[in-house]
C-alpha cells in the first residue's frame, strides 16, 4: 500500500533565499509524527508547501500514491490559531461545520447530518456547551479546540496541525493529546508541528528533525537523541546539554 504521504526533494525559496532544501521523507500509516526544529527552520513552510499553500521550487509530493487534488477529501488541516480574525461574526458550531464544506459541495447548504457531525466533533473536544458562543468569546485553548473539531469534522485520513499546542492551557494540551491518540487508534496519520522538546518523546511515535533540511527522520526512540538535536538546533540548545551533566553530578555524589 502506498504511504499516506511521500515527499521527495522539496525545495522552497523566498526571494532567492532557500527556506527548505531537498526535503524528502515518507510517512507510515497510523502514526503521530512530530515536526521539530528551531524558529525559522521551515516547519510551517513545510506543511504549507505540502498542502500547496506555498509554491515550491522543486520536488514532488504524493498523497496515498496519488495527487493532492484527487485525495483532497482525505486530508485535514489545522492552521495556526492566529491566522484568522476571531471577531468574525460566527459561532463555534458554525466554524466546525466549515469542516464539512469539502463534502457538501459548491453552492449547497449544510444538511442536518452535517450539523450533527459537527456537534459530535464539538462534543469530542469537550466544547458542545459552547456551540452557540461567538468565537471571540472563547479562550485561546477553546479556540484551538474548535479548530481541532473542525479538522475532525473533515473526516480525513491524514492530518496536518500547525503548532496546536502553542498558547493553550494545560487542559487543552491534554485534550489535544487524547484526541491525537484516538485518531491514531482509528488508523489516521497525523503530522504535528511542535516545538516543546520536553514532550516530544511522550507525544510522538516518529519525529522529523528539520532545519531547512532534514536532519534526522525516524522512530522517536531511534532518532530523538542529543546528537541529532545538537545538529538541528546548532548551538542554540543550552538546556539539553546541562541535563546529562546534572545527572552525572548526582551520580558522583
Amino acid at each position: 500500500m502506498a504511504h499516506p504521504l511521500s515527499v521527495e526533494n522539496i525545495t522552497v525559496a523566498y526571494h532567492k533565499k532557500p527556506v527548505l532544501q531537498e526535503v524528502s521523507f515518507s510517512v507510515p500509516e497510523g502514526k503521530l509524527i512530530g515536526i521539530i526544529g528551531p524558529n525559522g527552520a521551515g516547519k510551517s513552510t513545510l506543511i504549507k508547501t505540502i498542502l500547496g499553500l506555498i509554491p515550491k521550487a522543486s520536488g514532488s509530493i504524493e498523497f496515498f500514491g496519488d495527487t493532492y487534488k484527487k485525495q483532497i477529501k482525505r486530508i485535514g488541516y489545522v492552521p495556526q490559531r492566529g491566522t484568522v480574525d476571531w471577531d468574525f461574526p460566527t459561532n463555534a458550531l458554525d466554524v466546525v461545520t466549515m469542516g464539512r464544506y469539502g463534502h457538501i459541495g459548491w453552492m449547497k447548504r449544510p444538511k442536518k447530518e452535517d450539523i450533527e457531525i459537527a456537534k459530535a466533533c464539538l462534543k469530542k473536544v469537550g466544547m458542545l456547551e459552547y456551540a452557540n458562543r461567538q468565537i471571540s468569546q472563547l479562550s485561546g485553548g477553546q479556540q484551538q479546540r474548535v479548530f481541532l473539531a473542525r479538522a475532525l469534522a473533515q473526516d480525513a485520513d491524514l492530518y496536518f496541525m500547525d503548532e496546536p499546542f502553542v498558547g493553550v492551557d494545560a487542559a487543552t494540551e491534554k485534550a489535544i493529546v487524547t484526541l491525537l491518540n484516538e485518531l491514531k487508534e482509528r488508523g489516521k496519520t497525523v503530522l504535528v508541528v511542535h516545538h516543546d522538546l520536553q514532550t516530544v518523546k511522550e507525544y510522538f511515535d516518529w519525529v522529523l528533525l528539520l532545519n531547512m533540511r532534514v536532519i534526522a527522520y525516524g522512530k522517536t526512540e531511534e532518532v530523538f537523541n542529543l546528537e541529532n538535536l545538537q545538529k538541528t538546533y546548532g548551538g542554540k540548545l543550552a538546556f539539553l546539554e546541562e541535563r546529562p551533566t546534572l545527572v552525572k553530578e548526582n551520580r558522583s555524589v
Binding site: K48, L51, G52, L53, K69, I72, K73, I75, G76, Y77, P79, T83, V84, D85, F88, P89, T90, N91, D94, V95, M98, G99, Y101, G102, I104, W106, M107, K108, R109, P110, G126, E129, Q134, G141, Q142, R145, R150, Q154, D169, A170, A171, T172, K174, A175
Partner: protein, 435 residues
C-alpha cells in the same frame, strides 16, 4: 407634504426609488464582505478611482451613457485595486499608504479630466459632475433597469456562493485546504464589490460611495453575531438609507442624493453604536454598572462576614470599618447599605451594621464559594479531569471531588467558621458534615 405625495406618485420617482432600494441592498450585502475582509479602504479607493474612468468613457463615447460609464468606472476601479496590490507587493510601501497614493492620484486625474470636459464646448456634458456627489433624480428609466439588473445579479451570486464567500473570508488557507479555488472566488468577490461600487456612483457619487458600502455593514455588526443576519440586516439598512436619501433629494430642489443617503445610513450607524445589543455603548455601560453594583454588594457581605468571623463576640460593626476592608466609591457605599437592608440581609442602626440570619446565610454561601474557588485555583491541575476544561463551578465537581476540595479548604485554614443556624438545623447540604 402634499407635494411630497404628488412626487411619490410620479412614475419616474418610483423607478428611481426602486433602483436606489436595490442599490442600497446590494451595496449593504457586499459591503459586509468588504468590511470583514478588511477592504473598506479599498472600496474607497475604487470609488474615487472610478472618476477618471467615467470621464474617459464620456470622452470616447461622446455623450452621457450610464452603461459606458459603468464600464469605464469598473475598468479604472480595477486598475486602482491592481495597482494597490502591486505597490504593496513590490515595494516597501504599506497598504494604507498605497491606497492613499492611488486614491489621490486617480481622483486628481479625474478632476482634471472633468474640468477639461466642462471647458470644452462640444457634446452634451450635463450631469457629469453629478458623479461627484450623486444625483438620483438624473437617473432615467434605462439607467434604473441597468442598475437593478446588476444589483439582482450581485444578490443572486451572493446567495449562491454564500458558503464559499464566508469561508474564504474567514479562513482562506483552510478553504484552500479543502480544495476551494480561493483565488478564483477572491477575484469574483472583488469584481462584485467593484460592481456594487460603480452602479452606485451616479446616485451616491464617488466621494461618498465607500460610506454607502461600509456604513450599513458596520451598523449591522452591532446587532448580530451571525454572518447571515449581518448581511441581511446590512442590506436592509442600505436599502432603507437609499430610499430615504432618494425621496428627500428628489422632492427637494438642489439637494444631492449621496450625502442624504449617507446621513441616513450614518444615523442608523450611530443608533446602532449606542443601542446595539452586541458591543453597543449603552449595553456595555449598563452591563458594567450592573457588575459594579453586584460586586459591591458581594464584597460588602464578604467583608462583614470576615469581620464577624474574626471577632466571635461582637456582631455590630461600623459601616466605615466594613468599607475599610474593601474600598468602594461613596455613591456605591450608600447604594450597598440601602440595597442590603431593603433585602433584609443586614440591619443598620446609627451607622452600625450587623448581619441578619438571612444575611448570614447569604454571606456564608458567598464566602464558601469564594474560598472554594481560591482553593481550586491553588490545586487547579488536580481537578482538571473532572472539569474537562470548562469554567469552574462547584456543581460540576463529583461528590468525591467536592469532598477533596473541602478537605483542601480545611487544610489551608480557609473553612468558614460561622455556619448559619438554618444550615446547621436542616443539614441542607452534604458537605456540611465535612466542615
Amino acid at each position: 407634504m402634499k407635494e411630497f405625495f404628488l412626487q411619490f406618485q410620479d412614475p419616474n420617482t418610483q423607478w428611481v426609488l426602486f433602483g436606489t432600494l436595490l442599490l442600497g441592498l446590494s451595496s449593504g450585502v457586499l459591503g459586509s464582505f468588504a468590511l470583514l475582509r478588511k477592504q473598506s479602504l479599498i472600496g474607497d479607493a475604487m470609488a474615487h478611482a472610478a472618476l477618471p474612468g467615467v470621464c474617459i468613457a464620456f470622452l470616447l463615447y461622446g455623450s452621457k451613457s450610464l452603461f459606458w460609464f459603468i464600464i469605464g468606472a469598473a475598468i479604472s476601479g480595477f486598475i486602482s485595486t491592481w495597482l494597490i496590490h502591486i505597490i504593496v507587493k513590490k515595494s516597501r510601501i504599506k497598504e494604507d499608504s498605497a491606497i492613499g497614493i492611488v486614491l489621490s492620484v486617480f481622483f486628481g486625474f479625474g478632476i482634471v479630466l472633468l474640468t477639461y470636459i466642462q471647458n470644452e464646448s462640444t457634446g452634451n456634458k450635463s450631469g457629469l459632475d453629478d458623479f461627484i456627489f450623486g444625483q438620483a433624480a438624473s437617473l432615467v428609466k434605462s439607467d434604473v433597469i441597468l442598475i437593478s439588473t446588476i444589483s439582482v445579479v450581485l444578490l443572486l451570486l451572493t446567495t449562491l456562493f454564500y458558503k464559499e464567500f464566508k469561508i474564504i473570508t474567514f479562513d482562506p488557507s483552510f478553504a484552500k485546504g479543502i480544495g476551494l479555488p480561493v483565488k478564483w472566488f477572491d477575484s469574483i468577490l472583488i469584481i462584485m464589490i467593484v460592481l456594487a461600487v460603480v452602479i452606485g456612483l451616479q446616485t451616491v457619487g464617488v466621494i461618498l460611495m465607500a460610506a454607502m458600502l461600509i456604513t450599513p455593514a458596520i451598523a449591522a455588526r452591532y446587532w448580530t453575531d451571525r454572518l447571515s443576519f449581518m448581511i441581511i440586516l446590512a442590506g436592509l439598512i442600505g436599502a432603507f438609507s437609499g430610499g430615504v436619501g432618494t425621496l428627500i433629494s428628489t422632492t427637494t430642489k438642489g439637494l444631492p442624493t449621496g450625502p442624504l443617503i449617507i446621513v441616513a445610513a450614518t444615523s442608523i450607524f450611530i443608533l446602532s453604536l449606542i443601542f446595539g445589543p452586541k458591543k453597543g455603548l449603552l449595553q456595555a455601560f449598563i452591563k458594567h454598572l450592573k457588575l459594579r453594583k453586584k460586586t459591591a454588594l458581594n464584597q460588602f457581605l464578604l467583608s462583614l462576614y470576615d469581620l464577624n468571623e474574626q471577632s466571635l463576640h461582637s456582631k455590630l460593626f461600623s459601616e466605615i470599618e466594613v468599607f475599610e476592608k474593601r474600598k468602594i466609591s461613596k455613591s456605591l457605599q450608600q447604594y450597598v447599605i440601602k440595597e442590603l437592608s431593603n433585602k433584609g440581609l443586614i440591619s443598620v442602626e446609627d451607622g452600625q451594621v450587623s448581619l441578619t440570619d438571612k444575611g448570614l446565610e447569604a454571606a456564608y454561601e458567598l464566602v464558601l464559594n469564594h474560598r472554594l474557588y481560591e482553593t481550586y485555583l491553588m490545586h487547579e491541575l488536580e481537578f482538571q479531569e473532572v472539569m474537562s476544561h470548562k469554567e469552574f463551578s462547584i456543581s460540576l465537581l463529583t461528590e468525591k471531588e467536592k469532598q477533596k476540595l473541602y478537605q483542601l479548604l480545611e487544610l489551608h485554614g480557609r473553612k468558614p467558621v460561622l455556619v448559619p443556624n438554618s444550615l446547621r438545623a436542616h443539614k441542607k447540604k452534604v458537605f456540611i458534615h465535612e466542615l
